[in-house]
């Protein structure tokens, strides 16, 4: 099962984990990404998440399908929030359920690495000085490349 949701509303992680669970599942790895105030003077007021409707759902679906193909994963849930979020609110949740823990962990990390570079979402940071769009991170491009290396080994 693959569940993709792009939504503004908060959601219940416990319920998402319960949905991922079944008799054949022994392991669920999850990732939650939060709005983090990385500024020195704690000046972040909000983060606004924008996406490309249609393409964003398809991109997440494709990433999840690739993860399912690569590892022995039973179920995947990806929830990505959009709109205006406050510090400490959850931006993204990825859950991977498998019989065994290494597949669950690897799948979850793979999905996050690809989501960061291949899904059309953009963040704008609001501080008292105004709103600025967040720049892409070189780290994220490197994190994704790591999987290519492993594939070609």
């Amino acid at each position: 099962m693959i569940k993709i949701s792009i939504q503004n509303e908060e959601f219940d992680v416990t319920a998402e984990i319960k949905q991922l669970s079944s008799k054949s599942i022994g392991a669920i790895a999850t990732f939650s990404g939060m709005v983090r105030d990385g500024s020195k003077d704690s000046s972040l007021i909000s983060l606004t998440l924008e996406h490309y409707p249609g393409m964003s759902e398809a991109a997440l679906e494709e990433i999840a399908q690739k993860a399912k193909k690569e590892w022995s994963i039973d179920s995947i849930t990806i929830v990505h929030r959009v709109g205006r979020l406050k510090p400490e609110e959850m931006i993204v949740f990825v859950g991977c359920a498998s019989a065994h823990r290494h597949a669950a962990f690897d799948g979850c990390q793979y999905i996050m690495d690809y989501l960061k570079t291949d899904a059309p979402f953009w963040k704008a940071e609001e501080t008292k000085d105004g709103t600025t769009w967040v720049s892409e991170r070189e780290n994220d491009k490197a994190a994704k490349r790591r999987w290519h290396l492993e594939e070609s080994n």
Binding site: E50, Y52, V92, K116, D118, P120, E136
Partner: protein, 83 residues
């Protein structure tokens, strides 16, 4: 041709969407961007540095030399920063 803009590309241009007829000389994403650049001051600022812009055709990421036609849905936006 349906064209969508996101994030700061849209902020510079001032609106999220336009439907335009391209001259026949526009055959690739890069040629389309060069053509759009001359539409307004906002377009000029948005397309000033093409290396900082990404494009999608029919909701798939594509390279600058990808071919486009009037029936395509094209989008221009900055590198993605989700998650």
């Amino acid at each position: 041709m349906k064209i969508y803009y996101f994030a700061w590309v849209r902020d510079y241009i001032g609106y999220p969407y336009e439907d335009i007829s391209c001259p026949k000389t526009v055959k690739t994403i890069e040629q389309l961007a060069q053509h759009l650049k001359d539409q307004s001051d906002g377009h000029r600022r948005a397309f000033q540095d093409l290396s900082s812009i990404r494009a999608a055709k029919n909701q798939k990421f594509v390279a600058n030399d990808s071919e486009v036609s009037d029936t395509d849905e094209v989008a221009f936006f900055p590198p993605v920063t989700g998650g």
